[in-house]
Amino acid sequence: MKAFTTLTALVAPLDRANIDTDAIIPKQFLKSIRRAGFGPYLFDEWRYLDRGEPEMDCTNRPLNKDFVLNQAKYQGAQILLTRENFGCGSSREHAPWALEDYGFRAIIAPSFADIFFNNCFKNGILPIVLPAETVDQLFQEVVDGYQLTIDLQAQTITTPSGRNIAFIVDENRRFRLMNGLDDIALSLQHADKIKSYEVERAKRAPWLFKDA
């Protein structure tokens, strides 16, 4: 996983609440057995005027010019600014895979759906929760070339005018993301604890330990 420390990047505003994972990456693309290559299909039904199919070459597909990510001024954006409950719906990790493959490294919203929020941290994406009023203000400030600087160590966002906005990330998640650590390797450091838990639990609930 890519480590996340600091990021200075262009912001794309996606002004909708309750954006679901079906909108982020429609189900037909979930048939892929790979982890990469979802970026061209991110927000497929909003981004293109035709119907997307797996493995389609997107270079010549008709674009929906009204969709924010298609506007010239937001090309190269790595920070997504959006509304409440972003990432609701399915648990598909294809959603953060698609966002990451497209180029997004951070998402700012007043709230996120729990499973999506969790999945972001597994993929080097930083989801930042800010108060609704602060998000509102950022929506008003976003203009051509609007960039934010995110510092995960300091847990601050700096606006072009130099204003600092604080945010908080759980210590454990922050540490793992800043160092790009492999969760499984970290958990396996507790292998002895897992084994002794199993021994103890098998006494209380033996029916769960009679593996055929």
């Binding site: 002004d15 909708r16 609440a17 309750n18 679901d20 079906d22 909108a23 429609p26 189900k27 037909q28 979930l30 048939k31 892929s32 057995i33 790979r34 982890r35 039904e45 119907r51 797996p54 493995e55 509304r83 409440e84 409950n85 609701c88 719906g89 399915s90 648990s91 598909r92 990790e93 709230s111 996120f112 759906a113 729990d114 499973i115 969790n118 999945n119 597994k122 993929n123 759980d170 210590e171 454990n172 492999d182 969760d183 499984i184 958990s187 396996l188 507790h190 292998a191 604890k193 897992i194 838990y197 199993e198 639990r201 609930a205 033996p206 029916w207 769960l208 009679k210 593996d211 055929a212």
Partner: protein, 470 residues
Amino acid sequence: MAGKTLYDKLWDDHVVHTEDDGSCLIYIDRQLLHEVTSPQAFDGLRLSGRQPWRIARNLAVADHNVPTTNRDKGIADPVSRLQVETLENNCKEYGITEFDMSDIRQGIVHVIGPEQGATLPGMTIVCGDSHTSTHGASAALAFGIGTSEVEHALATQCLVQKKAKNMLIKVNGKTGPGVTAKDIVLAIIGQIGTAGGNGYTIEFGGDAIWSLSMEGRMTVCNMAIEAGARAGLIAVDDTTIDYYQGRPYAPKGDDWNMAVRYWQNLRSDSYSGDLFDKIINIDAAGIKPQVSWGTSPEMVVAVDANVPDPTKEADPVKRQSIERALQYMGLQAGQKITDIKLDKVFIGSCTNSRIEDLRAAAAVIKGRKKAASVKQVLIVPGSGLIKQQAEAEGLDKIFTAADFEWRDPGCSMCLAMNADRLEAGEHCASTSNRNFEGRQGYGGRTHLVSPAMAAAAAIAGHFVNIAEEA
């Protein structure tokens, strides 16, 4: 002593290790696997040279991509076929039990878990699917995870989690005629919103919940995720214990007796309120049959109501959402719900494909046929065993006599990964769980309803107030 909630008890029983910031390594008793969210997890295992920690705690089934007709011909779509074959190959390589398409036990992952007794009260249960919350109906801590966590659970039999807050939703009293578990949960989502449960585990209680069958409880917990909660729970009672007795994977003999004693403690120590961070009381008698009109499950109203008018919404973000939803759904503000005409009807999904759901749909038909204006009605049972049971009861004959199509088990048109889907602009009465844009097919328009409402709509060609008909 303050006592514990059901969630507290389940959590405390599975903590392996606690970090300084409060995040915990939680032991996982059962992982369910399906073809869509597991291939990259198995790839990860291979790349790192790791082995599954406890192979027998995994159970796999292909459900999302499988065809619901002509099974003997295999899967026509090569991309879907590769995904299903990849699951089969991974299960063979690692020695994981899989119910394949030819197995009578095959079905939707959240239907077959309880049906087989592979998911039991008191367990922690995960699956790379958000509707894993279904299994909470049996007082199991069950939640959906992403593929990285599927790999993590395979490799360590644990997950790193932070404890959620406790919410109690109490549905008091008795529901009226025509009101089912589906209507209860849709009404809850309509009230608290799709983000209402974010950060919480929701325990559902109250007489209207405790009087439900296991099937009904599964319908309620299934849609906890649509209320924003990763996990929903319902306490153990005799209904729970009776349901699991004799299931293939359920404990036997002395183990059964010991398990029952343990399970009987799986309820919150008090439902008066002190133990919960948030409590919502709902009057069951006030719930009417529900129909969703928009593109989020919270956009739902009673069948005798009208489509909302965005000009009456003060919040600009919400007003915009309503306007966008009306445009996508092709509906007019103020239009009567009962005037919405249906093109297709889908009865199935992990929400409503169990035997009780099929019986409820069949009971509505009463020898009538689908309306001529309805192009297709799909009945997709949740598992091969449910299909067999329904056929033994003659339900299939009732459906086919009404010109409904009787299909093979799978997720089918709930998310349209197989060939079953809506065409652009079509309205569908669906017993599934999500009415998002494009969910049932590009440009498709989904209305979430109960099986009884879906069947009644198939006959009439539009929604009807089944509370009055009942």
